[in-house]
């Protein structure tokens, strides 16, 4: 092992083999979930190339056509291709869901870890705030914000950024309170490491497990939240394709053209299942009890 190899980390065969071993140890559940999710993400990212039609292109010659080889998911009452709209909808739901989940997770985990480590009044304050916020009926809060600033994705972002971090803070705090009594943490403290380093470099990697697993469930819930809000008309506005809004559009045609409502729903279910599989696989891999629902 040359000293240079330590100072300038490069991807050498040993590292690749270790990565290969790590991936090999993943359960079937985890791999299946990742595969599914990657496929969906791929289609979303490359939507302009994958989607056969322009999602907003209206063609009155082909309205309310059932699924066939040209229009895999059929068309809606304005002649728009549902398949393309679903793919474009994935862009919105996935990206919004991602932001809604992982942005609050970042500062939520940090706040929780710090509060859990410090204890005292910081912990008491954070603890009461999180306990309060978790009991808020979330959708109601978002609707209140919508009432103030109007429908659209911004209302959702504002509410989520204000409130969603609390669940992560709670999880991270609980884990940190267990972790801080462990010997390696006490050793770091005795050695004079600043709190910042102890919490970030040593405590955090070991307390992040349940938050990561929960994030997959949270992702699903956030997609459901966004689509639900759009369904009742307070979220994404037409004509932008979004799964929930599309389901709402199809509501009045449910008898003659069931595919308008049903297809976007399948997309949500598929994405959600993929995320659940990942969550379960991660839970097993990380050794935490808390898997996603199912």
């Amino acid at each position: 092992m040359k000293p240079e190899a330590v100072l300038t980390p490069e991807l050498h065969p040993g590292a690749l083999m270790r990565i290969g071993q790590e991936v090999g140890s993943w359960s079937f559940t985890l791999k299946l979930g990742l595969l599914l999710l990657s496929a969906i993400v791929f289609m979303a990212v490359f939507a302009p190339w994958v989607a056969p039609f322009d999602p907003e292109l209206q063609d009155f010659d082909v309205i309310l056509v059932p699924p066939n080889l040209t229009h895999l998911f059929g068309t809606d009452n304005l002649g728009r291709d549902i398949f393309s709209r679903v793919i474009y909808g994935a862009r919105l739901d996935l990206s919004a869901g991602f932001i809604m989940t992982y942005v609050p997770m970042v500062y939520g985990v940090l706040i929780g870890a710090y509060a859990g480590y410090r204890g005292g009044w910081v912990d008491a304050v954070v603890g009461s705030i999180t306990n309060m916020a978790i009991a808020f009926p979330f959708l109601v809060m978002i609707i209140v914000v919508v009432a103030v600033i109007g429908p659209g994705i911004n209302a959702i972002y504002i509410s989520v950024f204000l409130l969603a971090w609390t669940m992560y803070a709670r999880l991270s705090r609980a884990e940190m309170m267990v972790e801080r009594a462990k010997d390696y943490m006490l050793a770091a403290k005795v050695l004079g490491y600043p709190t910042r380093i102890i919490v970030l470099r040593h405590g955090l990697p070991n307390t992040i497990g349940s938050s990561v697993v929960f994030s997959t469930s949270d992702f699903i819930l956030n997609i459901l939240l966004l689509s639900g809000l759009s369904f009742i008309g307070l979220g994404i506005q037409p004509p932008t394709p979004e799964w929930g809004a599309m389901i709402a559009d199809g509501k009045e045609f449910i008898l003659q053209a069931w595919w308008i409502c049903t297809m976007p729903g399948f997309a949500v279910v598929l994405t959600g299942t993929a995320l659940s599989l990942i969550g379960d696989g991660l839970a097993r891999r990380l050794g935490t009890r808390q898997g996603s629902a199912g």
Binding site: S128, A135, V140, M141, V144, G228, G294
Partner: protein, 315 residues
């Protein structure tokens, strides 16, 4: 007595939540761009009348005073007055609260009805085909949007088969129940997976406990070990999970009300947004928080009944 102290402690714990929600709503409304009264009245009134309304509602006073006054009045049941509908908020809410409560009740009932046997059987034969099927179905069910399930149920059972009514609320108790079958099932699809996963996991955990082995050594038959000892111990973590998810249950109920055209608080809320009826929105937010808090309290009390250890830590 320990029990009384526990109950009082749990009730006191609910106050911060109620205050938090009302504060959030109150402050949020302050951020309405433009003039809220003008928005609400849509310019149908003159400037002088707008000023008079401001005075009457006391909206020229400092924020803290306004908030304090709202809380004080709310405590006595006065939630203000809806500008749009010219009626006390409390009255409007009162008319619509019943369907929502029915929905929540029937939804929870169906969820438990579905989740309990499935979780019990899954945990009795872990890793069996049945277990894997249940867990996969749970996973998929959790990912289904409630409004989507609702529509599918309407399509299937309501329109194609015509077995049950698909919208509205019915006129008498029997009517309520039949009208709430599909909405209740919709909620169950969403809540049951959470319950199943939690109950199954806690049953497996409970079965691992030392005292279970001791019970076997005492000669207690397997079925009684399962239903009497393991189950009761497993209910506790599941109750906690249920508590945490109550707010999602309520959120789901709002959407379900929209799908099935139920005349409940959810529909009222959605409409009040359209009208920018801020006093009504404020009152509704409080009521929703109250519902969540009440359910949580019930769960806490049940917890105290099932496991006496909890009563000690009442502080």
């Amino acid at each position: 007595m320990l029990v009384v102290r526990y109950v009082i402690a749990r009730v006191l714990h609910t106050l911060p939540v109620l205050l938090g929600v009302t504060l959030f709503t109150f402050l949020a409304i302050q951020f309405v761009p433009g003039d809220p009264i003008r928005i609400m009245t849509r310019g149908h009134v003159s400037d002088a009348e707008v000023a008079a309304i401001y005075d009457r509602l006391g909206m020229n006073r400092p924020l803290a005073v306004q908030y304090g006054s709202f809380i004080a009045k709310a405590a006595t049941g006065d939630l203000g007055e809806s500008i749009i509908q010219h009626a006390p908020v409390a009255e409007l809410v009162g008319e619509k609260v019943a369907p929502t409560l029915w929905l929540l009740g029937i939804g929870t009932f169906f969820s438990i009805l579905l989740a309990l046997p499935l979780a019990l059987l899954s945990a009795a034969w872990p890793d069996s085909l049945f277990d894997h099927t249940v867990r996969t179905a749970s996973m998929v069910g959790f990912a289904m949007p409630p409004f989507w399930i609702g529509l599918l149920l309407i399509l299937g059972f309501g329109l194609q088969l015509g077995w049950v009514p698909i919208s509205g609320y019915g006129d008498d108790v029997l009517g309520h129940v039949t009208h709430l079958i599909l909405p209740g099932l919709t909620i169950a699809f969403f809540l049951a997976p959470i319950l199943i996963q939690s109950l199954r996991a806690s049953l497996l955990d409970a079965l691992d406990a030392d005292h279970i082995e001791v019970a076997r050594a005492r000669g207690v038959p397997e079925w009684r070990i399962y239903f009497k000892h393991a189950l009761r111990n497993a209910l506790l973590p599941t109750l906690t999970v249920l508590s945490v998810n109550i707010s999602w249950l309520v959120s789901g109920a709002v959407v379900v009300e929209s799908v099935f055209a139920l005349p409940g608080l959810g529909s009222l809320l959605i409409r009040s947004v359209g009208y920018r009826d801020y006093p009504l929105i404020q009152g509704l937010a409080l009521i929703f928080a109250l519902i969540v808090v009440a359910v949580n309290l019930t769960a806490d009390l049940c917890y105290g009944i099932v496991d006496r250890r909890v009563l000690r830590v009442a502080a």
